[in-house]
Amino acid sequence: MRKQLMKGNEAIVKSAILAGCRAFYGYPITPASEIAEAAAFYMQRAGGVFLQAESEVAAINMLYGAAGAGVRAMTASSGPGISLMQEGISYMAGAELPCVIADITRGGPGLGNIAAEQGDYHQVVKGGGHGNYRTLVLAPYSVQEMADLTAQAFELADRYRNPVFVLADGFIGQMMEPVAFPQTATAPVEPEWAVTGTAKTRTNLIGSLHLDIDEMEAHLRAMEAKYRHAEQYETRAEEWSADEAEIVLVGYGIVGRILKAVTAEARADGLNVGLLRPITLYPFPTMHFRRLAEHARLFIVVEMSNGQLLEDVRLALNGARPVEFLNRMGGNVPSHHEVLDFVREWARRTGVLRRELPAIAPEEERMANV
């Protein structure tokens, strides 16, 4: 596969179409608009449907319709638009409809600003709509992962019949990097539960209403079982020099990139630092944390939001190790010097000593499923 230079927001669309997505409904918003623009250009050429909806509320309900018709469907937005979609996401989760939603986050709350931030963690990872449901969340940190994880998101959405998020930030969406795509396109099989206006699908019903309380609970139990299954089989994280690390840095998305630079520099400086980068934010890679906690003395969470990832890290560690926290907000990015100083300071306070460390080989990069 040859690589080409491409924006993350464009890579998402191309990957989606290769993965069999044939419906895109969206509404413009910075910094996600290029996704709708690319979809407008490519979707019809690929024989699919593109429509700019009158609102994000309409867009997500169009996704409900497209998914109900058995089509792989996606939308993309940013914080304020995702807030508006939460109603429809809850309905889709309740009706067990698959879809992929890209959230290219910006600053908030309210109108906030359009700079890259990670303040949508709670509304995306915890599910901002009503009721007992979860959304699966994949967090790319490069343009290549924008492509790869989008394709993965469609697989997961179908496997679990549930909305799946690709949660990125303005940087990952806007930046260009070399990216390679699979050379074959996928043709998804029409699911048997779809309603497509045919004799075969006439008996099907798509909806989320269960008036009978026992029936409702049974439905919720079945959904719960799905989520437990996902927690067991779909968790993904990248560990980088983390196995024996005394200090484990934790961050996702663009922060994961910065933390790689910090990790390399700290290790060159003799500090035994490693990186744990969650790729699935739900299901959260709890087992990675538990395992690394056996050796690590300290975890440092770095995020571009107000301690949202931090909460999950604390839950995962359950008090096993101390957790320190560095964050920037409003569109400011923690610089790698800033993080490095923080790491050095906490290494000193924790009594982590400098020693000779082997250099990190690039191929040491490891993605593990737990």
Partner: protein
């Protein structure tokens, strides 16, 4: 069908085949509906079911149900059923129709659903001329939730949330959906009918059938509003309620056809068939065969590369393109690259900047905090980024002279009036490429073939390619003249 023989007439009970024989999705009383005695929904359901049966489209029908008393359409209709969120049925129907164009997609909505919470969805579905059918049941009240005020509640009409009666001063006037939608160009058929007496009922059945038939013919958006009695909430007997539709409601909501372009409307032309799967990578421009081989071979045996560049200037000076050509050339040469722009309003006015990294190793952070080279295309950019340049690094500055206040002893400076130099070459807008030429002189890591290839990929106009090539040469020469032998 069953019949009862009485002394002087025969009552014939027929049940449309578009209904289930037995309502198994209902938990009890599976031979009757959940509707109250005298409710209009029962009649409207019958009319719709008859239309579906008569048109022979039971298998093709996709019925999108609302939230409200109509929520249980899937209990009764033996068709494909979809239950939508409150007010969103037209959006759901839009996508179902577009993805299953052979399906007959019918949105069934009440007045709370359609004319309050779903106003945006119905207006835009109608305005796009979605080829769907909408049955709009208007009983002037929220019935399912127990009788609250609706946009269609009559002036003076009492509800649990307008206990003194609707007042125009507080709640405004009843919303006329048909009249409103009839101001749009796209709808093909809009009619308001009533269930106020037998004559009205006959017309209602005709209108509903027509609205469905229009879709079978594929001609466009059709909506039928049905004024429908709600004896329970209105606190009337079924007969009183029926008369109220005819004698009172109709005065606010006059019956009639508000739009009828059924005859002249044309079905959409046949859609082009979807391309075969094997053509998709080509359509997306990601097929290996269509991508250049690159010039990585030209880099064999060359030294380590780790170049970090920040480029900044006014929007319109070609800041981002400069960075893109550099990154594209790096990729062509087989390097790892990243290009990260500032985005948003900054692009449209004021300053613009981008980060570019080229490396043999995977690039960790694409953010360039301490550039090896700063390309400052104007003075504000110099002011902003001057201090960030790595000691021993370079500043390429677009100006007659380097401003004294930014002078640093630990960096190299190449200050030239690049805009004027570009103007001498033929166009001041080529200043970005002159500066890129100078940058490529300083950081001499890329093969010429990669730079040529990148330029041709990103600049489509051949006249500009020629000019940009001259500009790159000029930039290299400027660097060479100024710093021959000075460099490490």
């Amino acid at each position: 069908m069953s019949s009862e023989l009485t002394s002087d007439y025969t009552v014939v009970h027929t049940k449309s085949k578009a209904f289930y024989e037995r309502y198994e999705r209902k938990d009890d009383l599976q031979h009757q509906t959940h509707f109250c005695p005298g409710c209009g929904h029962g009649n409207i359901h019958k009319m719709l079911a008859s239309a579906i049966e008569e048109l022979g489209i039971k298998d093709r029908t996709i019925l999108v149900g609302p939230v409200g008393c109509g929520v249980f359409t899937y209990y009764y209709f033996d068709v494909g059923n979809v239950s939508a969120a409150h007010g969103r049925a037209p959006a759901v129907a839009t996508a179902m129709k577009r993805s299953s164009p052979e399906g007959i997609v019918i949105s069934y909505q009440g007045d709370g659903d359609l004319s309050a919470i779903g106003t945006a969805e119905i207006v835009h579905a109608a305005n796009r001329g979605e080829r769907i059918t909408v049955i709009f049941v208007n009983n002037a009240i929220y019935s399912m939730t127990g009788g609250q005020f609706a946009p269609t509640t009559l002036i003076g009409q009492k509800s649990t949330t307008t206990p003194g009666g609707r007042s125009a001063a507080t709640e405004g006037y009843p919303l006329h959906v048909c009249e409103m939608l009839a101001t749009l160009e796209a709808p093909v058929y809009i009619e308001r009918v009533g269930l106020g007496d037998n004559k009205q009922i006959t017309q209602a059945a005709r209108a509903i059938r027509r609205a469905v038939e229009n879709q079978v013919r594929g001609v466009g958006f059709s909506l039928v509003e049905v004024l429908s009695p709600c004896p329970t909430i209105w606190k009337m007997t079924p007969v009183e309620a029926q008369h109220w539709v005819r004698d009172v409601m109709e005065k606010t909501f006059p019956l009639g056809v508000f739009r009828d372009r059924t005859r002249e409307a044309q079905p959409l032309p046949q859609q082009k068939p979807a391309p075969p799967l094997e053509e998709i990578p080509g359509i997306l421009g990601v097929a290996d065969a269509d991508l250049p081989e690159g010039n990585a071979h030209a880099m064999e045996g060359s030294r380590e590369v780790d170049l970090q560049v920040r480029i900044a200037g006014f929007g319109g000076q070609g800041v981002l393109l400069l960075g893109e050509v550099l990154a594209e050339a790096g990729l062509d040469a087989g390097l790892e690259v990243s290009w990260l722009p500032s985005y948003g309003p900054e692009m449209r006015s004021g300053t613009s900047n981008c980060h570019v990294r080229l490396s043999r190793q995977p690039i960790d952070s694409p953010l360039v905090a301490m550039p090896d080279v700063l390309v400052a295309m104007n003075e504000p950019s110099l002011r902003k980024f001057d201090a960030s340049v790595r000691p021993g690094g370079w500043i390429i500055y677009n100006g007659e002279a380097f401003p004294r206040e930014y002078e640093r002893a630990d960096v190299h400076v190449l200050a030239r009036p690049f805009t004027r130099l570009a103007d001498e070459l033929g166009d001041p807008r080529a200043s970005n490429m002159v500066m890129l030429g100078a940058l490529l002189g300083i950081a001499d890591v890329l093969p010429q073939a990669s730079i040529d290839a990148a330029l041709r990929r990103l600049v489509k106009n051949p006249r500009w390619v020629a000019l940009d090539e001259r500009a790159l040469d000029r930039g290299r020469k400027i660097y060479k003249e100024a710093h021959e032998g000075v460099l490490p």
